[in-house]
Symmetry: C2
Subunit: 332 residues, 2 copies
C-alpha cells in the first residue's frame, strides 16, 4: 500500500488551525484528507464578540454544509469521515470569552466549544502566559474554571501557558489536559515550546501533545521533513506513542492587521511581535513540505519514512486525538 | 374518578410564568402537578445580560435537579412527567437578547431558548407592542428574524404585540405561532387582550392561545372561576378545542423594583404602570382560586364543572401545548 493510500484510510485530526476561513481553505482541508480540525474562534474577544464569531460559523455551516460539519462529540468526527466531510471543533485560544463569569463555561460548552486555552501569551484571570516574566500559577478563579471545565467536558489547552501554570493545571485538573500545538524545547528553543518535565507530566496524566508546524516552533522554514519527523520519533520514544498527534498551528489568509490583533489585542499600543523574528515582524515562511493543510499526506509519508509502523502512524495522525476527544468532550 | 385524580394523570403545561424562582416556587409547581412551564428569562436584557440569566438557570438545574429539568424537545416534557419533575422551557418576553443580530437567533436556540416574543409592549426592532399608539407592522429585520425562528425551531410569541404586527407575523411565519398568555377582548377589554379576528387567524394557521390568569387580563381578582372557565368554553366554541391552553402569567416573589424593570426597563425615567390600576401601581391581587401554581387542580375542576369532557380538559390543560411544542421546537 502506498503512503497516499494509507493516508486516505486514516482519521486525520489537526488539533489547531488559526486560519481566516473561506471556501477555498475548507477545500484545502478536504484535499489533505483532514477528518477534523480544531478551529480558533477567539484570541482576545469578550463574551459578546464571541457570540458573533459563533454566529459566523453557523452561517458557514449553512453555506458549506456539503464539505464541513460541526463536531460536538467524537462520534461526529467518525460521521465526518464516513460522509467525506471535515468536522469542525470549536475552541478558544484564550479564556477572554468567559470574562470573570464561571457560568459562561457551560454556556459556551452548550454552544459547541470543546477546547479552551487558560492563557494566551499574557497573564489571564486564570494563570500566566508563556511570554510573562513571572508565573504565579493557577489563580483562585482558575481553580474554579478548571473544575467547571472538567464538569462540562471542555478540554483544557496549555499551548500558550507558562511552565508553572501548566504544571499546576495538570495537577489540579481531574481529567487529562492537552497542549494542542507546541513542540519539545529539546528540539527547538523557544518560549512557546515545552520542557521535557512538562511533557512527561502531561503524558503521565493521560494528556496529549499536538506537534506544531509553525516556523517559529520548528526552527524556521528550512527545517526538513526528516528532521521534523525525527523529533516526533524522539518524542514517541520519550512519552510513548499514545500521547501525541498534530496541531499544526496553520495560519492561512490572515492579514497583517489580524496578526496585530493576535499579538497585541487591545492590551498594548505597540505591536509585540514576540518571537516573530522576520523582517518587519510579519508572517513567516512555512516549510515547503507543509505549505497548506493539503500537504497533510506528506506528514504520513514522513512518519512512515522514519520507520514508524502503520498502526503507530494511524495513532499519531488522528487516532490518539479521537480517543482523547471521545472521553474529553463528554460531561462528567 | 375525582377531578383531583384526573388532574394527577394529566400532562399540565403552563405556557408562561414570570416568577422570580427559588426552591419554594419550584415546589409550588410540583404541588400543582405542573409538568412543564415556560419561564421568562428576559424582559429588556441584551445578549450579554441574557447569558447571565441562562447561567443562573444552569446553576438552578444543578441545585434543584431532583425536581426540575431543562426542556429542549417535547420528549423532555414526557420525560419530566415520567420522572415526577417539572420541565423548564426557556423563553424571552422581548427580542432584546438578539439585539440587531440575526445570528443570535440560532445562538440562543442552541442555548435552549424555544419561545421569543417579537415585542414587549413597546416598538421593537421587529414590530409594535400592544401599548404603542401606532403600529407599522413587521419591519425588514422582523421578516428576517421570523424566517430564522422558523428555520431553527423557535416559537414566535405575540402576547405583548399590537394587532397589525400580530396579524402580519401570522401571515409571514411559515410555521404556526403562539399567544402564550392573553385572553379574548370579548371577555375583558384591555390592551393586552386579543380581538376575535386575531384569535381566529391564529387558530386557522394552527397556532395556540394560552389563557392568562393575570388579574388585569380577567377583570380583577373578584372574577369567579366559573366566569373564567365560561370564557374558556366560549373560546373553545369559537376556535375549536385544539388551539387553546394555559399561560397563567403567574408572577411570584417579584419585588417592586423588578416590577419597575418589567414596565420601564431602561427606556423611561418615569414608571409607566400600563394597565396596572392598583393603588400605587404595584402588584394586583390574584383571584382566590389561583393564588399560586399549586392551585392548578382548580382549573381542571373548573373546566370539568363547566361540562367539558375529560378528553377536552386533557387537551386544554397541556395536551395541546405538548402537540404544538413537539412540532415547534424542532429545526426545519
Amino acid at each position: 500500500m502506498t503512503a497516499s493510500a494509507i493516508h486516505d484510510d486514516l482519521v486525520v485530526i489537526d488539533a489547531l488551525q488559526a486560519s481566516n476561513w473561506d471556501r477555498a481553505l475548507l477545500e484545502e482541508l478536504r484535499a489533505g484528507g483532514v477528518t477534523a480540525v480544531h478551529v480558533t474562534l477567539v484570541f482576545w474577544e469578550d463574551a459578546r464578540a464571541t457570540l458573533d464569531n459563533i454566529g459566523r460559523w453557523h452561517r458557514f455551516f449553512e453555506q458549506h454544509g456539503d464539505i464541513v460539519m460541526p463536531v460536538r462529540r467524537a462520534e461526529d468526527i467518525e460521521a465526518a469521515k464516513a460522509a467525506g466531510k471535515t468536522g469542525i471543533i470549536f475552541g478558544f485560544q484564550n479564556c477572554s470569552p468567559i470574562e470573570d463569569d464561571l457560568a459562561l463555561v457551560q454556556v459556551f460548552h452548550e454552544l459547541g466549544v470543546r477546547i479552551m486555552q487558560l492563557t494566551y501569551n499574557n497573564q489571564s484571570l486564570i494563570g500566566a502566559g508563556c511570554y510573562e516574566a513571572s508565573d504565579p500559577g493557577i489563580s483562585r478563579f482558575g481553580r474554579q474554571v478548571i473544575a467547571e471545565m472538567n464538569r462540562v467536558g471542555m478540554i483544557i489547552d496549555l499551548s500558550h501557558s507558562a511552565e508553572r501554570t501548566s504544571l499546576e493545571a495538570i495537577e489540579i485538573s481531574e481529567r487529562p489536559v492537552a497542549i494542542t500545538h507546541a513542540n519539545p524545547l529539546s528540539f527547538h528553543e523557544g518560549l512557546r515550546n515545552k520542557s521535557d518535565d512538562l511533557l512527561k507530566a502531561l503524558a503521565q496524566s493521560g494528556g496529549m501533545l499536538g506537534f506544531s508546524t509553525y516556523p517559529f516552533h520548528i526552527g524556521g522554514a528550512d527545517t526538513t521533513l526528516d528532521a521534523y519527523c525525527g523529533m516526533i520519533a524522539d518524542t514517541v520514544a520519550m512519552l510513548g506513542v499514545d500521547h501525541v498527534g498534530f496541531g499544526t498551528d496553520m495560519c492561512r489568509k490572515l492579514s497583517a492587521e489580524y496578526l496585530d490583533w493576535m499579538r497585541s489585542g487591545r492590551w498594548s499600543k505597540e505591536v509585540d511581535s514576540g518571537e516573530a523574528k522576520t523582517a518587519g515582524g510579519g508572517w513567516p515562511d512555512w516549510p515547503e513540505w507543509f505549505q497548506t493543510p493539503a500537504d497533510f499526506p506528506n506528514l504520513t509519508q514522513g512518519l512512515l519514512d522514519k520507520g514508524l509502523g502503520e498502526a503507530d502512524v494511524a495513532k499519531i495522525m488522528g487516532g490518539n486525538w479521537l480517543r482523547f476527544f471521545r472521553e474529553g468532550f463528554e460531561p462528567r
